[in-house]
Symmetry: C2
């Protein structure tokens, strides 16, 4: 049984284990600084499918299959799959996973969905309802652009604060106590909306929610940033991560060298022309499920905070003049 620590944080007592994990990505991501860390790269970003949405579905199918293969398990061994993406009605999750025949629970937290899905997968282990659960998310540059902004063919100009949606997917198989990285603390975020209305400045819209979740976590656990090897937000990008640092400084919390953001890690800033950085629920998922979890597995990292952030907007809300609500969920992952 988990226990509540302070007002917003819980501590998992049965040590849900990240038994196996995998990440896949597209061509542009493979040319970034982490390009050689992913399990599989799709140089043809259609993945052989006839629409971008179907390509994104395939990303999820492939990523889950690699995750299962690494654990030497079959889909029928898995009790629940917690899956989400950015598309309307979580289309890439439903279509990408329908053939697996795993009990399916669709999640929506925009770019925070990987932390949300991982939290629920871990809770399923902690509560005894599952022996094995999978958390998986994806995003695809082309399906996202079409849905949230403009068709690619339109060739719209991007603003300096805009982020580049990552084509990628990450999946984690969570199991009961056994060797491997473990989940200890989790802080689920509250919706925070400071009135940002610019859909091309997601970083600014999400930074306040990341600050709120981190403040709750440090307050609840009586810990401070320097106690963690890595504090990793995703995906605030350049604008949002600067804002986050400033918001925390006002509360006398200082993020130091151990702070990074998935949106800043995915691409080469100068050469790859991605403006404020990467985004999308495949961004933090694919970085967590490759580079980061490998380092924890090898004990190069021992105690990290993964803080995935999401902008809970839709094109309809933007068209109706609404501001952009943000949310951020924190997962503390420790080496065995």
């Amino acid at each position: 049984m988990a226990v509540r620590i302070g007002k917003y944080t819980i501590e998992m007592k049965n040590s849900p284990t990240l038994k196996s994990f995998a990440a896949t990505c597209g061509k542009k991501e493979s040319e970034g600084p982490l390009g050689d860390k992913f399990d599989k790269v799709f140089l043809d970003t259609t993945l052989g499918e006839d629409s971008w949405e179907k390509a994104e579905s395939r990303l999820q199918t492939e990523t889950v299959n690699i995750t299962l293969k690494k654990a030497n398990m079959n889909a029928s061994d898995v009790n629940y799959i917690f899956a989400g993406d950015l598309l309307n009605q979580c289309m890439s999750s439903a279509f990408g996973l329908r053939s697996l025949d795993i009990p399916f629970l669709g999640q929506f937290g925009a770019c925070s969905t990987m932390a949300q899905s991982l939290f629920l997968a871990a809770t399923s282990i902690e509560s005894g309802i599952a022996n094995y659960s999978i958390a998986v998310t994806s995003s695809h540059y082309c399906s996202s652009e079409r849905q949230f902004r403009f068709p690619l063919q339109y060739g719209g100009q991007r603003t300096p604060t805009a982020q580049w949606t990552v084509t990628g997917s990450g999946a984690i198989l969570v199991s009961q106590k056994e060797p491997g990285p473990k989940i200890k603390y989790c802080t689920i975020g509250r919706i925070t909306d400071l009135g940002i209305k610019d859909a091309n400045n997601m970083g600014a819209a999400m930074a306040p929610s990341a600050a709120k979740t981190l403040l709750s976590f440090f307050d609840d656990t009586k810990t401070k940033p320097s106690e963690y090897d890595l504090i990793l937000t995703g995906d605030l990008g350049e604008v949002g991560s600067d804002l986050l640092k400033k918001l925390l400084e006002k509360e006398n919390i200082y993020l130091g060298e151990n702070y990074n953001d998935c949106g800043l890690m995915m691409y080469h800033k100068e050469e790859q022309d991605v403006h404020a950085g990467g985004s999308g629920c495949g961004c933090s998922a694919s970085i967590l499920c490759s580079y980061i979890l490998s380092k924890i597995k090898n004990h190069e990292l021992k105690n990290i905070l993964f803080v995935a952030t999401g902008a809970l907007m839709s094109p309809t809300s933007a068209q109706q003049g609404e501001s952009i609500p943000g949310v951020a969920h924190l997962i503390n992952i420790i080496a065995e």
Copy 2:
């Protein structure tokens, strides 16, 4: 700690209790057979807002507030809110609940979302991560028509198999063991797709998933339909519920007088011109959270199966010629 029973079913051992519940609806629903059962009726279906989407958001706000008031509790007492709707990016949930400051976990299971959210809220209690969690969903006829079919102004003709999206919302506050209806067994569904492509025949698309979930449940628990006071699907409507009965008969499972469907219960068939019945994730939610749970609370019903069904399609998938994947989740609710 919950325990697994058979391959797909779990039994909650800490008896998560449905401490408080509420339902709201629009004018048309208030004129149906259950019109006097809802906590609040909005005769102006704009709810005073300037868009249908904002009206639907307000439905969720109001329903959650009534639920909290009935329990004599504040939003700050609630550890998690599991919320979903049919709109792109779960817009009515995010915007309807952003002011409550409750840790937020967005859910998407189309019209099955109430069962999914209730399952996760119960799991949060069972695992010890929460003392109080809320499950809430909504749908709105006008926002759904605009998004999934045609703008209302177009006046499109509806086919005989089409269902009428319910304007309504239902919310449940789940707590640890105390007096009130309790959750015992849950069976989370697998995605089932038999190739139905007609977006105006959701009942046919969802019936196979309801059959699969019910078969798994009866098999896992070694029980039969006659052991339950009520088996309530939502929202198969006329076409889907007939198909469900036929699919189960092939497996020698017979649904009798104790079977009903939320889509058939919401409207007067002849006078209200809703063709195959009601639908939307507000349909099963508002009926469960009014008429049904009141009967369980009063011990008029003692042991029911609530089987919410969802069609995991999106307008984009339909335009791309895809079939409609269905999913159904079962929650067994017992009187104290």
